[in-house]
Structure formats: structure tokens, C-alpha cells
Amino acid sequence: MEATSLKAHDTFSGGVHPADNKYLSAHKPTVAATIPKRAVIPLSQHIGAPTKPLVVIGQEVKKGEKIGETTGFVSAPVHASISGKVVAIANFPHILGVDLPAVVIESDGKDEWVAGLKENPDYNMLSPEELKKLVQDAGIVGMGGATFPTHVKLSPPKEKPIDVVILNGAECEPYLTSDHRLMLEKSKEIVEGLRILMRILNVSKGYIGIESNKPDAIEAMNKAAAGSSDVKVWPVKVKYPQGAEKMLIKAIAGRTVPAGGLPMDIGVVVQNVGTAEAIYNAVRYGRPLIERYVTVTGRGVKEPKNFLARIGTPFSQLIEEAGGLTDAAAKVISGGPMMGMSQYTLDVPVIKGTSGITVLPREEVSTKPYGPCIRCARCIDACPMKLQPSLIGVFIEKGHYQDAKDYNLMDCFECGSCTFVCPANRPIVQWVKKAKKELAKKKN
């Protein structure tokens, strides 16, 4: 479909326009990936307290069985994504770049659901508290990549009433098309998931924000939401990072999240469209979050594809199913090229927040050294948070972390727009991450 058939004006100030390269996979219907023979399921797939294992080595588990129990409120349980036998509980490579505790399950090939999953055909009769409990027990976290436990977002303190729920279908990250395909293929489920969210939060206004470069998704969602006055599909301007929570709220609700604050401070809850679909599955069928849409794309794989993949599927398997790496493949990124994390091994597994695997060939990977800041102000124009990345970068380069903090370092959410436009190739995001760590160390 023609990408320019729709003009949207709602947006934020700043931002950049990287080539989105979504054509590589946007038109390809999602296929179910092979059930992995061996699933490595990290016990921590979310922001917050890691889970503790509920299983022992040698134990038989069924698909959907809880294998990791939460240890705090800001945490989410972890479930077996295949049926089989637990063969290891140890540290395994995680997409964060370190080895983290994981449960390894070897498939018995039966792929059987655990007994006792409760279907709720008439889930509209459930109370908000019951619905929230279902979401919490299903281990649902923000599936756009941030992996913040969803039930926490659904439990705002009393003094912060929520009146708007926004589903994030912007998918501003270049290359990725998993949300796009999900909106085309699961539009009804997404809308139902949104309605459940609205019921839990007692909200009458629901929006689905989609970048206008996905007119087919906008149409599909409009169709799914047809006839209801409570849910509105809201096309937003194509600009990175339009899908960042604060930028999306600005574009759709016209509200500004206070610096250092949360969307709930201004009465808004934002959830990814994938999260909404997972919520629907959890509430309607009692199914925990054990699979998700994953785009495997980039010019470093032979046949870019969209997969429905089990949590714990190794990257290597999905890449194989996408035709394998090309000879030129040089960088494998968990997520998209702007905010994704490059991997040193293909043994890392898909987790709840893995929206895609982007493989870049050598010629698209820059290893150029960086030069001095020439203060061209491009980063200042690009920063969606209106920071001065140039100055922050210079401070951190010289080790002046506190100065960087005085220049609002903490308001940076590391979208990478500044680094994308920097003519001197300066690794500003890398420095920002480093400074935040150094400052945290000092505090402790």
C-alpha cells in the first residue's frame, strides 16, 4: 500500500528520520517458528526483581507452567514456553550482554498445555481486580522492549487517577515490523485487550497510536474498533522516536509528562499493542505469555521474516529459519538498529521484550573513530527531550559526570537521535549510559 496516502500532523518537536527499511519484512505474513528443541528461558525478562526458580533439574514441565516465581511487586512470573524436561538451571547468555540465570527445558515434542488454564468466555463479567490478577499471573510485561511489568502500570496510586489509555502501535524503530504484522493479523484481539485495560483502569478513552507509514494497519485497526465510541485509532507523524512513551502521549493526548515523572502523573497509561494482545490471551484463554511476534530482518539475513516465536527460542534458530546469515553479516541486534542491543553470540534467547532481530551486513556497520565535537547543534535540534547532548557528551568524555547531570543527563532516555545525526560520529548514547552507571555507583 502507498505509504504516503495518509498525512498525520500530531507529533513532538525534535526527532530524526532514519531510513526505516521496513519493506524488507512488512508485507510478509507471520509464520510460526519451529518449537525449539531446547528453550533457554531467563528468570529475569523484565525490569525489576528477578524471579526465583520453581522447578528443579530433571522435572517434567508443561507449556504454560509457572517456572519462575516473583520476588517482589515490580516483577513478573516466568512460564515454560514448551513442554519437556528441565535440563539445566544456570547462568546463560542473555541479550543484556551478560550471563543471567535461566531455566533450560528440553522439548518432549508434545507441546502440551499445562492443566488448569481457565478460559473466560464472558470475561466482561470479571471485576477489574480479577482482570488485573489474570494479567499479573500471566507474566505480562511491556512488549515494546522496555519490559516493565504490566500489572504495576495498572496499579496507579489513588491520588493519580487515569483517564486515558494509549496503545503504542507507532513502531518507529527502523526495520521492525512485528507490531505492524500483529496489528494486521490480530487487530480484534488488540482492541479487546485495550478494552480490558480500560476496564481495569476504569477509563473511557482509549487510543491506538500508529505511525502514518502503516496505512494498512491503521485501516485494520479502524475496522476492528468500528462501531465503538470508546476506542480511537490515532495516526501520528512518521518520525523517530515517535513511539517513545512521552512523545506518543504528547502527540495523541497533547499532555507533557513532567521531567522525571511517569505518564500516570498526567493520567495516562501507555501499553504496546503486543502487550494488549497478550492481555487478551491471558484473560480470555488463561494463557500466560510464552510466545511473541519477532521480526528477523536486515540485509544480513537471507530471507527477512516475521515469526511467532516461543520465549526461549535461540536467536540462531530464528536466523536459520530466516534463511540464515549472509556472508556479509557483521552485527546481530536484539531489537532495532536505533535502540537495540548488539549481541556477541547467537545463543541468546528470545525474551518477552524481543520485538525483533536485526542483522546488519558489514557495509552498514560503521566502525569509524569519533572526532571532536564541532558544536554544530544537530543533536540539540534532534533531541526529543530538548537536552544539549553535545555538552553532555563533552562533560562525560572528560569524566565530569556531575556536570552532565546538572545538564539534565537523567532526562535522557537514550533514543540515540543525537548519535544518529552527529557528524563527528561521537558515541553520545554510550557515554550517557556510562555516566548514569557511574553516578549510580557514587550514590550507593
Binding site: 513532538f12 530524526v16 532514519p18 538451571i89 544456570a90 546463560f92 550471563d99 512521552k246 507533557t256 513532567p258 521531567a259 522525571g260 515523572g261 546469515l325 557483521a330 552485527k331 546481530v332 541486534i333 538498529p337 536505533m338 535502540m339 537495540g340 548488539s342 549481541q343 556477541y344 553470540t345 547467537l346 545463543d347 536485526t358 546488519l360 560503521s366 566502525t367 572526532g371 571532536p372 564541532i374 558544536r375 554544530c376 547543534a377 540539540i380 535540534d381 527531550m385 530538548k386 537536552l387 544539549q388 555538552l391 545538564y407 539534565n408 532526562d411 540515540g416 548519535t419 544518529f420 545525526v421 552527529c422 557528524p423 563527528a424 560520529n425 558515541p427 548514547v429 554510550q430 549510559k433
Partner: protein
């Protein structure tokens, strides 16, 4: 029971690992520098057209000296030699365009050495210099060789410039002898403006032709390498202030068009004041920078000892660029609201 053994990767795959973003747009420092140099091409060609062979000599000496000075200083300081980034070339070219055509060749040489070695490299090299190197170089030769540097030649008719004769620039005439004298030479104001616009007047190499400078500036603006925030307030301020205070017959009798098109204002506003390194980078600070530079220029032109003040105005404002940047930070997304919302 055996401890679970971590699997070794089957094949040794070599992957590049770095912190994102893993994409980059196509701009680079060297591309910017070379493009700005390219945008000076019309002004450079016009200078050769009007001043002939001597102009070429001045330009060549500046370019060669600047490049050698940059490489030499970087070798001395044991830094990587970065001639290809185009910044030394640009400094040399800008300095040349700010010198009179009849300058003996030791002047471009000395100016380039001072610009590159002292104003640029000794301050830390590209990105760290406080003052615009080309203008420091020019300021140095202006005060050192004041007589030569304020003697300009009129445009010549032959390439060899054998007929070059010294003459005063329009600003000098205006300052010392008044508007009447200018009109005596050019007959009508229209003719005067036309010559200023085309560049048919005495002056530094690259500053005379307004049209050539505007062509280059328009290209840079189109490429978004420069924005209106510094040059337009700069030129407008000079226009307004010279109109108000520049006339001999009291307030509001000055000639803003003459002032805006003469001297080094166009070249300075579009190509020198917009230097990234030595100017502010916050947009609102840039407007203030431009207005202040315009006010200083007017002050020097109307009341100072020199007929032209663009160079000193920009150099003085260069000192304030970091302060302006720090004082006029843009408001962080959500910061203002935060005060109202926080409980």
C-alpha cells in the same frame, strides 16, 4: 550430578558489538567543512574576476600555508594529522577572502600561521578553539601591518592587474567624507547599490560581491548546514541601527542598504559568525549572538577608530558563545510542567 556445562558456539562467528544506535545518517565533519568551502566558490571566483592574479596568489598562499601549518603543528603536538577533515582548508580560504588583493604575500603567510598554529591548534585544535581562527589571523595582520591592510585596490580590468590603483572602500569614504562624496563617485544611489551587490568595489577579496556570498549562503541554508538564527539578526541589527543612528542629519536618516551590503558584513554574517565551534549552538542564544554582533559592528563603524567592525564584533562575541549556551539552555521536555505537577 554433573554441573551443567555451558555450550560452546559451534562455529566461531565474529560479530561486531557496540552500543547503539547502529545506524547513522550521512553527514560527517569533513563533508560539512568541504561543503562550506565549496559554498565559498562563487565569492572566490568573483574575487579572481575583480582582482585578477594577485587574488589567486593571496588565496594560494593562504591555503598552502594553512595546510602546512596544520600538519606541522599536529606533528609537533604528536596528534594525528587531520588535513582531510577540511577545516584547515576552510580557515585558509576564509582568511584569504578577508585580505586585500594587493597584500604582499608575507601577509597571507603570517596570517595563516597565526590562525592555524595559535588560534586553532594551541587552543586544542578543531572543536576547542574559542576564537574564529581566520578572524584571529586577520586581526593579527591588521594590527601588525595596519597601513597595508587598510589600503585597498579598485577592481582591475586585466587579469595581470597591472592597472591596479589604490582606492578607499565605500565604508571609509562614508566615514571620512560622507555620503556626498560617495554619490559624487557613483552618481546615483542605484548605481552605488548595484556595484555593491555585484562586488564592483574596493575591499577584501571575498567580501565585495554580495550576490556571490548570498548564492553560497543560500546553498548552505538549503543543506541546513547553517540556519537563519545568527546571520539574519546580525545583518538586520546592523541595518536597523545604522538607519537610526548612521545619518549625519539626525536620527532615522542613515542608509541601511549601503551599510548592510558593504564592508565584510555579508561574508562575516553568513560564513564567519556561523562557525559552529566559536558560536553558540542553542538556537535562541544564536539570535542573541547575532544581535549583539550586529550592535558591536554598528558601534565600531559609526563611533570606532576603524571604518569596519565585523571582524572585531565577531571575535568579541566569540568569547560569550559558551556563556550564552549555558545561560540560554532550551527548556527540557516536561521540566516546566514538572513544577506545577509535583506534589
Amino acid at each position: 550430578m554433573d554441573a551443567p556445562v555451558k555450550e560452546q558456539p559451534k562455529e566461531q562467528l565474529k560479530l561486531i558489538v557496540s552500543i547503539g544506535p547502529h545506524m547513522h545518517d550521512t553527514e560527517s565533519t569533513s563533508k560539512i567543512m568541504w561543503t562550506v568551502s565549496g559554498a565559498l566558490l562563487p565569492a572566490t571566483l568573483m574575487s579572481v574576476y575583480y582582482f585578477g592574479l594577485p587574488a589567486i596568489m593571496v588565496i594560494l598562499v593562504c591555503l598552502v600555508t594553512s595546510l602546512l601549518a596544520e600538519a606541522g603543528m599536529q606533528l609537533l603536538l604528536k596528534k594525528p594529522v587531520t588535513l582531510s577533515d577540511g577545516s584547515a582548508f576552510l580557515t585558509g580560504l576564509l582568511l584569504a577572502l578577508n585580505l586585500p588583493a594587493n597584500a604582499p604575500l608575507y601577509i597571507p603567510f603570517v596570517g595563516s600561521v597565526v590562525a592555524i598554529m595559535i588560534a586553532k591548534q594551541l587552543f586544542g585544535g578543531l572543536g576547542y578553539n574559542i576564537f574564529n581562527p581566520a578572524l584571529v589571523g586577520r586581526a593579527f595582520v591588521l594590527v601588525s601591518f595596519a597601513k597595508i591592510m587598510t589600503t585597498f585596490v579598485a577592481p582591475v580590468s586585466t587579469f595581470m592587474a597591472l592597472d591596479a590603483k589604490t582606492t578607499a572602500t565605500p565604508l571609509v569614504l562614508l566615514k571620512e567624507e560622507g555620503m556626498a562624496k560617495l554619490l559624487e563617485i557613483y552618481h546615483t544611489k542605484a548605481a552605488l547599490y548595484q556595484d555593491l551587490f555585484l562586488g564592483n568595489r574596493a575591499g577584501s577579496l571575498g567580501e565585495t560581491s554580495v550576490i556571490a556570498i548570498l548564492l553560497g549562503a543560500a546553498y548552505l541554508m538549503m543543506k541546513r548546514y547553517i540556519t537563519w538564527h545568527i546571520p539574519i539578526p546580525f545583518i538586520a541589527t546592523v541595518g536597523i541601527l545604522t538607519w537610526v543612528f548612521g545619518g549625519k542629519d539626525g536620527l532615522m536618516t542613515g542608509d541601511p542598504i549601503l551599510h548592510m551590503m558593504s564592508g565584510g558584513l555579508m561574508l562575516g554574517a553568513f560564513f564567519m559568525a556561523t562557525d559552529y565551534v566559536t558560536g553558540p549552538s542553542v538556537r535562541s542564544a544564536q539570535v542573541v549572538f547575532g544581535i549583539c554582533a550586529g550592535a558591536l559592528t554598528t558601534l565600531i563603524r559609526l563611533k570606532g577608530g576603524y571604518p569596519e567592525g565585523v571582524m572585531f564584533a565577531i571575535l568579541l562575541m566569540n568569547c560569550f558563545a559558551p556563556l550564552l549556551d549555558r545561560g540560554m539552555r532550551s527548556r527540557v521536555f516536561g521540566k516546566a510542567v514538572a513544577q506545577g505537577v509535583k506534589k
